[in-house]
């Protein structure tokens, strides 16, 4: 944890000051250890409750989109007043703890037990490198982004273990589908943030956030998302993130209308809750990384809003992205597995590669004359939009709204 900059407002430095107050007196080796433990505790605490309330928010927002109130029956334990269902997550938590954990007779006991543990472990690992505030990054790594996606890539191993260990036709089919989907969306996910590293020149997350400091004309922040290649990269990243965390248009593995609950069919009780927690942690981590790479991490969008502490900005952006995930889940149906993989290989990967070329053109044109600075906007926009339309038309070749005749 780098030393706190003295010039910031008090609220900004509050968390670091608090931590130094607590561990200030410890001798050197023990202090870093305790600091790390505090960071781990904080992450698990905050993201654990955030996970609980996101499940509630998801059901409430889905409810409101469908013109119904969403869960509002669970009373607060002792004062048993129904407060808009705010205690629903705790009710779900207790339910998942008390539900019987059935393991099928001829399941592969070891793998069946290991799958949720591995999945959760890998998705929690990814929280280590996301900068939550001005100097609130748990681990300062030089190759932080690579570490993030290395930990993320191992989740498919755990999904396979879950599918294979349950010895059930449905979960076997779902394990195959999940693997096909995760592998084919890993490529666009990785390719979409390569332009950011190209421009920022570093793999360390804090350096990337610093690269997005400052404002142009006083109010447009230098975030990567406000550049043509950045916006394209952001969209590809978010679509691939949707697929990686098995969210709505891409939730074929647990397609409830076809394969019951996919690779989760034979899980119940707390292991099922662990799978859910791992999925939500994956979603939170990916949106955290999207914020860091494209939305200027913990930076405030306008200069005069600087007084709001940086971690609140990060939280706000995170909740906005989560709302986006839920909104998409409320609207879109599910893609079939072959359409899903065709969409990845024939649309997202080429676009990501073109976006890479687009960034190179952008950076070459950026250090020349002012005219070129202006010209690079339409040029780069065209470089990415034209293939988008062409590939789009090729992808949806035989698919179009039809005109109907009447007899």
């Amino acid at each position: 944890m780098i030393a706190a900059a003295t010039t910031d407002a008090f609220l900004e430095r509050a968390p670091v000051l608090l931590r130094d107050a607590v561990t200030g007196f410890l001798p050197e080796p023990w202090r870093t250890l305790v600091n790390a433990l505090i960071a781990v505790g904080l992450i698990l605490g905050i993201f654990g409750t955030l996970f609980a309330f996101i499940t509630l928010a998801e059901r409430k927002i889905l409810g409101r989109v469908q013109n119904r109130p969403g869960p509002n029956r669970a009373p607060i334990p002792f004062i048993n007043k129904r407060f808009f269902g705010l205690s629903q997550p705790f009710a779900d938590g207790v339910k998942s703890l008390t539900k019987e954990d059935i393991v099928p007779r001829d399941a592969d006991k070891v793998l069946h037990y290991l799958a949720p543990v591995a999945l959760l472990a890998f998705s929690i690992l990814t929280f280590a490198v996301i900068p939550y505030g001005r100097n609130l990054v748990p681990v300062e790594l030089d190759a932080a982004v690579l570490y993030f996606f290395a930990a993320g890539a191992a989740t498919e191993l755990a999904v396979f273990m879950a599918g294979w260990a349950s010895r059930n036709k449905y979960s076997l089919l779902a394990a195959m589908r999940a693997l096909a989907q995760l592998i084919s969306y890993e490529l666009p996910l990785l390719l979409s943030w390569v332009p950011v590293v190209l421009i920022a020149g570093t793999l360390s997350t804090t350096a990337i956030v610093d690269a997005q400091a400052g404002w142009k004309f006083g109010f447009i922040p230098h975030w990567h998302v406000f550049t043509p290649w950045g916006f394209a990269g952001f969209v590809i990243f978010m679509v691939a993130a949707l697929a990686e965390s098995n969210r709505s248009p891409f939730d074929t593995p647990e397609a409830e209308s076809e394969l019951i609950a996919g690779h989760l069919t034979e899980y119940s009780g707390f292991k099922y809750a662990l799978f859910f927690m791992a999925e939500y942690f994956g979603m939170l981590a990916l949106s955290g990384m999207a914020i860091t790479l494209f939305l200027g991490g913990w930076r405030s969008p306008l200069p005069f809003l600087e007084f709001i502490p940086s971690y609140l900005w990060f939280g706000g952006k995170l909740l906005a992205l989560i709302f986006g995930f839920i909104w998409i889940r409320a609207t879109f149906p599910r893609l079939r597995i072959d359409q899903l993989t065709r969409f990845a290989w024939k649309f997202l990967v080429p676009l990501a590669l073109i976006n890479l070329g687009n960034t190179i053109v952008w950076s070459l044109m950026s250090n020349s004359s002012a005219l070129m600075q202006l010209a690079r906007w339409p040029v780069c926009a065209a470089i990415i939009l034209v293939p988008f339309v062409v590939l789009g038309r090729k992808l949806s070749a035989g698919v179009a709204p039809r005109i109907y005749r009447y007899a």
Binding site: P249, I260, P333, R336
Partner: protein, 390 residues
Amino acid sequence: MSISDLSPLGAQGGSHVRAVHDEFHGDLLEVSMGPHHPSTHGVFRMIVTLDGETIVKLKPVFGYLHRNHEKLGENTSYLGSMPYTDRLDYLCSMTNNWAYAIAVEKLAGQPVPERAEYVRVILAEITRLLNHTCLAGFLMQDLGCSGTPLMYAFREREKILDLFESLSGSRMMCNYQRFGGCRVDPSADWLEGAKQLTDGYGQFLDEFEALLTGNEIIMARTQGTGVLSPELAVAAGVTGPMLRATGVNYDLRKTDAYGVYPRFDFRVPLGAHGDVYDRYMVRVLEMRESIKILQQALAGIPAGPIMDPKAKLRGFRPKAGEAYGRIEGPKGEIGFYLVSDGSPNPYRYRVRAPSFINLTILEDMCLGQTVADAVIILGSVDIVLGEVDR
């Protein structure tokens, strides 16, 4: 072992599939989808033989909801069977009642007053709106939308069910029509409520279509899936929107011209490809036509008796003989074949259920498709198990 000898109707089957069997394909996986399955619309089971993801054989299994409705019909009086017809296709009780009433009126030669015919057309078209809206909701639920279109459909369905409840006393089990007219005369403000419903329905359909019809994912999933050829559809006795989606122009409201349908001008939408998207779109366009019929019927409903004065309620004994009456129900041609021997109970009481016969070619549509497609093909056939199993 090629496909054709697997499904006995291979030679005559529609979309014929030839799968090369070699070691790479591995052995076939037999999966039983149902009767407890989230998307089989009730207790319906499909034994699906899979080669990887593609379906090689699909055998539907019925009978889980079989109550022997026809034996019940033979042991109860003509009037006593009327409440049981509500439980055939429990989404559209009004059209079931009308089909049974039309068959008995044909059997006994019972005239029906003008106002009752208008009320029957109004209720049948409202039931068509209800059924097609629910079908769109269930189909989108099978496609994977997490409940949003279904909840919009149910919000509109509630308004319709309130209308039925204030008229017949019960939301779904209306038991409203009698031989020779209807049981209760709709009041003026009921007709006003029906007029408000139809006027507001067009706006709901616009919003519903904005959400669904142009959606690329839905178009990609449903266009080209479960194609049904017109010849096979006609040969297999498929009726209703499924038949019209293949382009065959056959709507009983136009061909049989029963009731007072000839007085209203409305058009019959026809599909061109016979796939799941066409079946969805034909039903949505039919809803817009139903709104037109409703507006004309509500405007032109005459005064007069709702029940033919000479109609006998209890000691109803039609002369010996037989009759087959049918109407264009929302799911297809629903018909009743009655054989009477002069006693108060029918000698033979047969229900021609559209869902049951439309399932004949489920296997032909699903061959070669994936498991995910089989679910939406079944959804697009629009079956209700009460009617399939009787």
